[in-house]
């Protein structure tokens, strides 16, 4: 017998004696990061970046497959005893020697996970982790001229790229309210001193908001540059319009941290068929949040309508897509993205 066959036999035997649990239920108690376990990570350190942003150093479990600069990772943290999943861009370089990864989180007002991570995360805490994913990455053949257009916490995926690859000609236009709000300010100025980056730093409290239409005044050759943009919805919408108007939409790559919500309608009573839970929902809250708040195990991913990780069969009633206002009615086989859909009257999900 080969060693793998032998190992799987031994595992079967173990399952026989741990039933109805699995061997991993016991192993997880003292070795949550081991190979073969569900992917988890351990928080090793928390470094303040600005008054409301912090970098979290995470030691990923053995199953971690690495990331590409610019990608994000989903983490599940227990906040007040409740497991919540959010996406965060990886800010560490891919070749970090100690195998740790970092994410950098900005606490937003009333944000459950972001505030918890920035203000209460403690070294030693085990968190849930998912493999890195995302399309907001540099192509294999490095572009000759690059523009990074960022604002606020949107700097995070770009910092991952800056730390990872040396590019010939990089310009960055970054906005933040004030000097002390600029995340990674020292790192950026080190790169400038190093001559590996040209930086345009805007403090919107004094300089006013960046007008994307007047970008040429800051970066005259902006249109020749392959551009990666990440920041608030307004900035990204303006950038997409501007690049499209100039006929170079394919040269702009954007990363959004949240979906653009256009309409909210009337809610209704939502039934989760499998668990038998029924709750009232308004017409603005994503069904994903509604389910989680009711203790239903909802599948999820990006939580902003791009990955389809949350698709769930709609068994009855109707839901509204919060991005378009479009109504979807239940039919056999119809799946809805719960992270960007809200109840449009009474409805039932198979969960």
């Amino acid at each position: 017998m080969t060693s793998t066959a032998l190992r799987s036999r031994a595992w079967q035997l173990l399952e026989m004696v741990t039933t109805p649990l699995l061997p991993s239920d016991y192993l997880d108690l003292f070795s949550p990061l081991r190979a073969g376990a569900d992917l988890r990570g351990r928080i090793e350190a928390v470094h303040a970046e600005t008054p409301d942003a912090a970098t979290i150093v995470i030691r990923p479990g053995k199953g971690w497959r690495g990331h590409v600069a610019g990608q994000y990772v989903r983490i599940g943290v227990d906040v007040d005893g409740v497991r919540l999943w959010r996406a965060y861009s990886v800010t560490s370089p891919t070749n970090r020697q100690d195998g740790r990864i970092t994410i950098t989180v900005k606490a937003i007002p009333d944000g459950k996970v972001s505030n918890h991570l920035v203000r209460h995360a403690k070294p030693g805490t085990v968190i849930q982790l998912d493999q890195a994913t995302g399309e907001f990455v540099l192509p294999k053949t490095k572009p000759a001229k690059v523009l990074y257009l960022t604002a606020g916490s949107g700097i995070t995926p770009v910092m991952g790229m800056l730390r990872d690859a040396q590019l010939e000609d990089v310009v960055m236009v970054h906005s933040a309210p004030r000097k002390q709000d600029v995340i990674f300010r020292n790192d950026l100025h080190d790169l400038v001193a190093d001559k590996s980056l040209r930086l345009v730093e805007l403090h919107t409290d004094t300089d006013g908001m960046l007008d994307v239409a007047r970008l040429h005044e800051l970066v005259p050759d902006w249109a020749e540059r392959e551009t990666w943009a990440c920041g608030p919805t307004g900035m990204l919408d303006a950038a997409e319009a501007h690049w499209a108007a100039n006929g170079i939409a394919e040269r702009l790559h954007t990363e959004r941290f949240r979906p653009t919500i256009v309409v909210a309608g009337d809610g209704g009573e939502v039934t989760f068929g499998t668990t038998g839970k029924t709750v009232d929902a308004d017409g603005a809250t994503p069904l994903l949040d509604v389910g989680e708040a009711a203790g239903v195990l909802m599948p999820s991913g990006c939580r902003m309508g791009i990955c389809f990780g949350c698709s769930t069969p709609l068994k009855a009633g109707a839901v509204r897509d919060l991005r378009t206002g479009e109504i979807t009615e239940a039919e056999p086989g119809v799946l809805v993205q719960t992270c960007v859909s809200a109840a449009a009257g009474p409805c039932e999900l198979e969960r």
Binding site: L13, M16, V17, T19, P20, L21, D25, Y26, L29, D78, D80, G81, V82, R83, L84, T274, T275, E292, G295, V296, L297
Partner: protein
């Protein structure tokens, strides 16, 4: 008149009420609102400490089980047998009661942890979690103590309330209740397949047999683990380990049988007729749960070992609140009952058990056992 029949039941129960006036509809609504308030407060307060509590109980249980089983590898040595069996029996009780029963009720669903969730949990009991969830969470907790609806009344095998019509087979119930206690796990397994409903033609034999096959898969794995795999792994301790596992399972069976029977069948608990369910208000639902349940007095460790079913009243009022919170709300529920002049059945374990057994013996014989039936 159907509405009156339910009212007679409440009347019977209210004879034991401490105040002379009957509750008005308004009082019942107030009572319901007060209980809803307790529920909302606990729901809002659930948090990190509760999560830590259940994870700790789970870790302790797994440690006890692993430690006990490890000791039993050398169970030919009497001290190892004794300590190992005690640890395993304790682990099995914790697993079934404070963990399994309560997780399967969805008490910990709010944590959104897929490892501790009513839809994913499987317990160390012959009957599969899903089958039990239907018969227990749905049938029993919805139709608590409604004759003809709540199959948990005497587990369809015992005459435990005088309102159940007598049959000669009940003459043997003192004996088969002992057997049920010892083999409780298997009693529940058969019970969850609802064979008696197939017998009565309320469901097809084919359906019952399909369910039975599903149950047998789970039950088979349980049997292999305790009576084949672990004894074999113990080598020279084969027989003693087999005996230890049998003992641990039996202790667990007798304990759970005792606690569960004390929760619904001592004197002071009441059964209802089906028409009680018609248009039942929230307050009336609470009243029925209260009237159908009884608590057991004891200390913190005792409550833990009963899976907090010693707070059966609180559990039936709020089946999906985390069990570690029952002790804290029990005094408030009791004070509320006092305020509304409602009986709150509770007593020490011995007294409640004696009361249950008195009923089992008395009602084995025909007749009303000295108390008037509903109709």
């Amino acid at each position: 008149m159907p509405a009156a029949a339910g009212a007679v039941e409440i009347d019977l129960w209210e004879q034991r009420m401490t105040t002379t006036e009957r509750l008005t509809e308004c009082d019942i609504d107030d009572f319901g609102r007060e209980l809803d308030r307790i529920r909302d407060e606990v729901t809002a307060a659930r948090g990190e400490n509760d999560a830590r509590y259940i994870r700790r109980v789970i870790a302790v249980q797994r440690g006890l089980e692993a430690g006990g089983r490890a000791l039993l590898f050398v169970s030919v040595l009497p001290p190892a047998w004794l300590v190992g069996t005690a640890a395993l029996a304790t682990a099995k009780i914790l697993e079934n009661m404070e963990i399994g029963h309560n997780v399967l009720h969805g008490q910990w669903d709010w944590m959104c942890d897929p490892k501790i969730h009513s839809t994913t949990w499987e317990w160390d009991f012959a009957t599969p979690a899903k089958a039990w969830q239907h018969s227990h969470n749905f049938v029993h907790h919805t139709y608590t103590n409604v004759l003809g609806k709540d199959r948990d009344i005497g587990y369809s095998a015992l005459r435990i309330h005088p309102e159940q019509p007598w049959h000669p087979v009940y003459l043997a119930q003192p004996f088969y209740n002992v057997a049920l206690a010892m083999f409780f796990e298997w009693g529940i397994t058969i019970y969850d397949v609802e064979l008696e409903r197939a017998w009565r033609g309320e469901k097809s034999w084919r359906e019952a047999l399909t369910e039975l096959r599903g149950v047998l898969g789970k039950a088979g794995r349980q049997v292999i683990k305790d009576y084949v795999a672990f004894p074999l792994l113990s080598g020279p301790s084969f027989l003693t380990t087999l005996l230890a596992n049998l003992t641990a399972n039996t202790i667990r069976n007798v304990w759970t049988h005792t606690i569960i029977f004390c929760g619904h069948f001592p004197d002071g608990t009441v059964v209802f007729t089906e028409d009680q369910l018609d248009g039942e208000s929230r307050g009336e639902w609470y009243l029925r749960q209260l009237a159908g349940s009884a608590n057991i007095d004891g200390g913190a460790l005792f409550h833990l070992m009963t899976g907090n079913l010693s707070h059966q009243i609180e559990h039936h009022l709020f089946p999906d609140l985390p069990s570690n919170r029952y002790a804290e709300i029990a005094p408030r529920v009791r004070a509320l009952c006092e305020r509304f002049g409602l009986p709150y059945a509770t007593g020490p374990l011995l007294q409640q058990t004696a009361s249950v057994w008195k009923r089992v013996l008395r009602l084995a014989l025909p007749g009303q056992g000295g108390h008037q039936a509903a109709q």
